[in-house]
Symmetry: C2
Subunit: 250 residues, 2 copies
Amino acid sequence: MASQRGEGETTATPLEPADRERARAIPEAAVARLAVYLRVLSGMADQGVTAVSSEELSQAAGVNAAKLRKDLSYIGSYGTRGVGYDVEVLVSHIERILGLTRNHSVAVVGIGNLGHALANYGGFPGRGFPVTALFDVDPDLIGIPVGGIPVNHIDEITAVCLEREVSIGVIATPPPAAQSVCDRLVSAGVQCILNFAPVVLQVPDNVEVRKVDLAVEMQILSFHVARRADEAASVSDGNGLGVDGMVIRP
Amino acid sequence: MASQRGEGETTATPLEPADRERARAIPEAAVARLAVYLRVLSGMADQGVTAVSSEELSQAAGVNAAKLRKDLSYIGSYGTRGVGYDVEVLVSHIERILGLTRNHSVAVVGIGNLGHALANYGGFPGRGFPVTALFDVDPDLIGIPVGGIPVNHIDEITAVCLEREVSIGVIATPPPAAQSVCDRLVSAGVQCILNFAPVVLQVPDNVEVRKVDLAVEMQILSFHVARRADEAASVSDGNGLGVDGMVIRP
DNA sequence: TCGACTTTGTGCGTGCGTTCACAAGCGGTA
DNA sequence: TACCGCTTGTGAACGCACGCACAAAGTCGA
């Protein structure tokens, strides 16, 4: 982590002070949507589309057109009134704001089913996220290359992360190991963590954690299944009476 | 597997009308947190803890205590003032609200790296989500069991989903196939979809979609890396010190 | 050059979700 | 039984984000 930004020359495009100001003010929700816009725009660019209106783009991204324009306004005014947005221009500005002009070296910890899948994505979806280090505790895995990267023992995490300038750590371990792995990543200077383990991680303030929690996602869906089923039931059973005779539906 | 929910008598515990009313009013964000509370509580129950205060529970779940109490109040008043909550009671009420008293049969479409990983979880984290069907287009995969379930051809999706009463579809296909798979799931009567493909799915209003988007997650982290780097840069124009006094430039 | 049309950028009202703060309620204790 | 301390449950204030609606600003055709 120490020399992530090289001295003198850096591969990353630094943000203009005006943009810094902006970046600080972008709502988290808008950042997530910007990433979606970026993907849609990239797809359009690949198909030779050069210009797009907020209406078209918003529809492709599945959001409200006004919201999209507001989101884009957070990063500056790069549209042309009466015409729309230049796809290339928008792509490059979103990439810049999202920090995608620099490479983010990724380490995956826990090479089980999920870890394998993640490692094999190799250079994550959307590029710019090369997986450069893999870790596990299983002696049978150490040294075996997965997706082209040999697996290191987890004890080497600090040294390897520093050496390869890992900026994002992905935790794909069993739940009991997650917090300990997290602590090690943090002490190796990793400030951004993507956590697949169903555990609430405790981290210092200066570390950013995003969690991907399958169980929670499934349970949210389950909630909706149940809600739907109950709505259907309450329509079909037809008495509209609550537990103690209280009328729920007027 | 065909008779997961018997005809006539259902294994699912129906919600009382009073709870139905409540379930409808629970904010989406709160539902997600309830799932987290549930996991923490289950862990506590396994360790023999029988009672817990909102303060303890909120800390373990990584949220504000007041928010936790409000979240719990959405599902009813099951705490004891001056004491706290009974773990078992809370677990069973959250399970009921989230619809976890019934089994939710899951189909995974796209048996690549990720699909394999998902299928092998076998009965999803937290139980209650048995994977009962797998689909792919690759002829080499058809019939091969993964995690105990043989892979079906995707053309059989409607028949198999209906037969096995699939209520949740998981899309783990390459992006170009996702929308088509989604359409097929919907026409097979699946109303809840968990989408891992980096595509914005278009679905009818009565279908619930949750998406897990690795690229977006990585890019959000990237944004934070960039923001941090810029903050450090704007601070360090002289002292070379980072946020917590750590030397960024040796 | 002018006018009509199109689309952006944004000020503002609205609604939802979070947080605060306190009254209500319960168990323990004298 | 009456009091005390603790914790819940929730009313109310706050803040953020969404969406509307419109002015500003640009293009295109005449």
